[in-house]
C-alpha cells in the first residue's frame, strides 16, 4: 500500500506538524495494531498449551534443528533488507536490485520451509482439526506465513520498480517502509520460534 511509483519526481510532501513523514507514522501505528493481532494469537496458543489429551503433541512433531535453519534464513533476510535500504539511500541501483532480490528469495526459502514442515506434520497425523495444538499452531504460524508471503510480493514489486528505474534516492522511503514491515515479521517469528518451538 505504501508503494507508489511515479514517472515524474514527486512534489514536495505536505509539511507535517511533527516533521515526521505521515506514511511512516501511519505504518508505525499499523505495526502497533499488528502487535495486538499476533499478541492475541500467541496468547491463545500459550493458554491452550498442554491441554490436549490426544496427540500428536508438540514434542512428537516439532523438528527444532530444521526450524532453526528456517529461522536463521529469515533473520539473515533482515540483514539483506538493511543492505537494500542502504543501497537505495546511496543511489546504488545495482545494490538495491541485488539486496531486494536476496531478501525476497530468503523470504521464499522460509515459506518453502514452512510448506515442507506443514506437509510433514500432516503425514505425522497433525491436522488443523486434530486437537487444540493443531488448531492453535496452524492458525498462528499460518497467519505469520501469510504475512511473510505479503512481504515477498511487496519486495518483488519494489524489485520491479528498481528494474524499471523507478526507485531513485527520493523514493527510498518506499523501501524503508517495506523494511519496517519485514523486520516486524521477523521479530514476530523470533517470538513464535521461542515460545512455540524452544519452550515446549
Amino acid at each position: 500500500m505504501a508503494v507508489a511509483a511515479l514517472s515524474h519526481p514527486a512534489p514536495e510532501a505536505h509539511p507535517t506538524s511533527t516533521g515526521l513523514n505521515s506514511r511512516k507514522m501511519l505504518f508505525w501505528a499499523f505495526l502497533g495494531s499488528e502487535c495486538m493481532f499476533f499478541g492475541s494469537l500467541i496468547s491463545t496458543y500459550l493458554i491452550y498449551r498442554g491441554r490436549d489429551s490426544a496427540g500428536p503433541h508438540p514434542h512428537e512433531v516439532l523438528n527444532i534443528p530444521f526450524t532453526s535453519f528456517s529461522a536463521f534464513v529469515l533473520l539473515m533476510s533482515s540483514l539483506t533488507m538493511v543492505l537494500a535500504l542502504a543501497a537505495v539511500q546511496h543511489g546504488n541501483l545495482r545494490g538495491t536490485k541485488i539486496w531486494l532480490a536476496a531478501t525476497a528469495l530468503l523470504g521464499m526459502t522460509f515459506i518453502a520451509g514452512q510448506c515442507y514442515e506443514f506437509t510433514h506434520f500432516f503425514y505425522d497425523g497433525l491436522k488443523l482439526q486434530s486437537n487444540l495444538f493443531g488448531c492453535t499452531f496452524f492458525v498462528l504460524t499460518g497467519f505469520h506465513g501469510t504475512h511473510v508471503t505479503v512481504g515477498v510480493i511487496w519486495l518483488w514489486s519494489l524489485f520491479m520498480m528498481a528494474v524499471r528505474g523507478k526507485l531513485p534516492v527520493e523514493r527510498a522511503l518506499d523501501v524503508e517502509i517495506a523494511g519496517l514491515y519485514w523486520h516486524f515479521v521477523d521479530v514476530v517469528w523470533i517470538a513464535i520460534f521461542t515460545l512455540v518451538y524452544l519452550i515446549q
Partner: protein, 512 residues
C-alpha cells in the same frame, strides 16, 4: 510542533453525479457512504446469540444457518473499515494540524477522536482474532471454542471483553467530546478546565484496557483477579467524574441558551451520571453477582449507551446539522423530540433497575405472574413505544429540514471553534488558505476571528488528495472476498482478484 506552510495544488471544483461519489475524497461524502453501507448488515438475518455472542452458543451445533456467519464476516469487514479510518485520523490529527494548532489547542472532539482511534487500532485486532477462531470453528471444524475438544469457553469471553470494554469507550468518548463542544457554545463560556478534560479522556483510554474482566465476575476468576478488576473499575470512575464536574462548572455562571443541542447535552450529563452510578454499583463483585444477567445490567447499559452515547450523538447532530447542510433543524420539533426522548427513555429503562434487583433475568421474555414484574414491565413497554415515536419525530424533522429548513449562516450558534468560520455547507477543501491558530476558541478572540475569516479567500492553489476509484474497488473486493466465506467460492474468488487489483492499482497511483 505545528505545521508552518500550506501545500499547493489546484482549487478543486464542486462535483456531482455517481462518479464523483465513487471517487470522492470529501469526508462528508465518505461518512454518508459509510452510513449507507452499514445498513446492509440487515441483509444476513439475525444472529441469535446476544450481542456478546458467548461460545459455544455460536457453534454450528447451536447456531445452524448463516446468521452467525454473516455477523462474523460483517464484523471483520467493519473492522477493516474502522482500522483504515482510525489510522487516517491518528496521522491527520498528529501530523497535519494547521499552523499554531498545538495539541492543547485542539477542540475536545478532535482530542476524543484521537483517543478513540488509538483504542480502535489496538482493540479491533483482538476481536478479529476471536472471529477468525470462530469462523475456523464453523467452516473448517477446528475446536477453539468446542469444550468436548478440550477448549475453554472462557477464551471467547476474555478475547471478546478485551475488545469489548475498550469498545464501550470507543462509543462514549466521541459523545463526551461532542458534549464538551456544545456546552461551552451555549453557555457562552470556554470549557472549564480544558486540559483536565483532555487528560481525563486520555486516562480513560488507558484505563479502559484494565477493566475487561468486570464483565466476567460471575464466572469465578478467583479473589485476586476479582479484587484487581474491581479496583480498576472503581478507579476509572474518577476521570469520568472529573469530566462531569468540568461540564457542570462550564455551565456555572454561563449565559445559558436552551437550544435543542444544549438540551441533549444536558440530558447526556444527567443520564450518563445515573448510568455511571449503577455501573459503580456492579464494580463490586459481590453486588455484581446479584446483578449479572438481570435487568439491572440492561438498565445500566441503556443509561450509559442510550442516555450517554445516543444523547451525545443527537446533541452533535442538532449542533452541526446547520454546518453540514446549511440549514437549521426545526427547533420546535427538536424540543418535542428531546422531551419525548427524555421522558420515554426514563420510562423504559428506569423500572428495569427495580425488576432487575427483584431478580428478573435478561433475555428471557416470559415470566410467571405474581412475581411483581407486571406493572414495571408494562411501564417499560409503554416507554419503548413512546421512544420509537420520538425517533419518528426526529426522522420527520431531519427530512423536512434538509428540504425546507431555515437557512443557517456560517456561524448559527456563535461558536468559538474554527469550523464556524467557513461557509455552511463547507466547500470540499474547507479553508481556502489554512489559517494560523492562536487559541483554543479563535472565533471568540478579535484577531483570531479576523484571521479565520480571511482564510476563506482563495489566494492560490489548494492541496487536495487526488480522486480515485481504486479505494471503492478494493472495498468491494474485500466485501466479496469475505462474503465468499458465507456464499461460496464463486463470490470469494472474484472478490480476491478484485481486491488485489484494487490495492495494487491504488498503491501504484501517482501521489500528489
Amino acid at each position: 510542533m505545528a505545521t508552518t506552510v500550506a501545500g499547493v495544488h489546484a482549487v478543486p471544483k464542486s462535483e456531482s453525479g455517481l462518479w464523483s461519489w465513487i471517487t470522492t475524497v470529501d469526508h462528508k461524502r465518505i461518512g454518508v457512504l459509510y452510513g449507507v453501507t452499514a445498513l446492509s448488515f440487515f441483509l444476513g438475518g439475525a444472529p441469535n446469540v446476544g450481542w456478546f455472542a458467548y461460545s459455544n452458543l455460536t457453534s454450528s451445533q447451536y447456531s445452524p444457518g448463516h446468521g452467525v456467519d454473516f455477523w462474523a464476516v460483517g464484523l471483520q469487514i467493519l473492522g477493516i473499515a474502522s482500522l483504515a479510518a482510525a489510522f487516517n485520523f491518528i496521522v491527520t490529527i498528529i501530523n497535519l494540524r494547521a499552523p499554531g494548532m498545538k495539541l492543547m489547542r485542539m477542540p475536545p472532539f478532535v482530542w476524543m477522536t484521537l483517543v478513540t482511534s488509538f483504542l480502535i487500532i489496538l482493540a479491533f485486532p483482538v476481536i478479529t482474532v476471536a472471529l477468525v477462531f470462530l469462523l475456523f470453528d464453523r467452516f473448517v471444524g477446528t475446536h477453539f471454542f468446542v469444550p468436548s475438544g478440550g477448549a475453554d469457553p472462557l477464551l471467547w469471553q476474555h478475547l471478546f471483553w478485551l475488545f469489548g470494554h475498550p469498545e464501550v469507550y470507543i462509543l462514549i468518548l466521541p459523545a463526551m467530546g461532542i458534549v464538551s463542544e456544545v456546552l461551552p457554545t451555549f453557555s457562552r463560556k470556554p470549557l472549564f478546565g480544558y486540559p483536565v478534560v483532555v487528560y481525563s479522556g486520555i486516562f480513560i483510554g488507558f484505563m479502559g484496557w484494565g477493566v475487561w474482566s468486570h464483565h466476567m465476575f460471575s464466572v469465578g476468576l478467583g479473589p485476586l483477579a476479582d479484587s484487581f478488576f474491581a479496583l480498576t473499575t472503581m478507579l476509572i470512575a474518577i476521570p469520568t467524574g472529573v469530566k462531569i464536574f468540568n461540564w457542570l462548572a462550564t455551565l456555572w455562571g454561563g449565559k445559558i441558551e436552551l437550544k435543542t443541542a444544549m438540551l441533549f447535552a444536558l440530558g447526556f450529563i444527567a443520564l450518563f451520571t445515573m448510568g455511571g452510578l449503577s455501573g459503580f454499583m456492579h464494580a463490586s463483585p459481590p453486588a455484581d453477582l446479584q446483578q449479572t444477567d438481570t435487568y439491572f445490567v440492561v438498565a445500566h447499559i441503556h443509561y450509559v449507551l442510550f442516555g450517554g452515547a445516543i444523547m451525545g450523538v443527537f446533541a452533535g447532530i442538532y449542533y452541526w446539522f446547520p454546518k453540514m447542510t446549511g440549514k437549521f433543524l426545526n427547533e420546535t420539533l427538536g424540543k418535542i423530540h428531546f422531551w419525548a426522548t427524555m421522558i420515554s427513555m426514563n420510562l423504559t429503562f428506569f423500572p428495569m433497575h427495580f425488576v432487575g434487583l427483584l431478580g428478573m433475568p435478561r433475555r428471557v421474555y416470559t415470566y410467571s405472574p405474581n412475581m411483581g414484574f407486571d406493572t414495571m414491565n408494562l411501564l417499560s413497554t409503554i416507554g419503548a413505544l413512546l421512544l420509537g415515536a420520538s425517533v419518528l419525530v426526529f426522522v420527520v424533522n431531519f427530512v423536512n429540514s434538509i428540504r425546507n429548513g431555515k437557512p443557517a449562516g456560517s456561524d448559527p450558534w456563535g461558536g468559538g471553534s474554527l469550523e464556524w468560520a467557513i461557509p455552511s455547507p463547507p466547500p470540499s477543501y474547507n479553508f481556502a488558505t489554512i489559517p494560523t491558530v492562536r487559541s483554543l476558541d479563535p472565533l471568540w478572540h478579535k484577531e483570531g476571528r479576523e484571521a479565520a475569516l480571511a482564510a476563506n479567500q482563495v489566494r492560490g492553489p489548494i492541496h487536495m488528495p487526488p480522486s480515485s476509484y481504486w479505494p471503492a474497488v478494493s472495498a468491494l473486493g474485500v466485501t466479496l472476498l469475505l462474503s465468499g466465506m458465507v456464499f461460496g467460492w464463486f463470490v470469494g474468488i472474484p472478490g480476491l482478484i478484485l481486491m488485489l487489483l484494487g490495492l495494487y492499482s491504488w498503491a501504484f497511483e501517482p501521489v500528489t
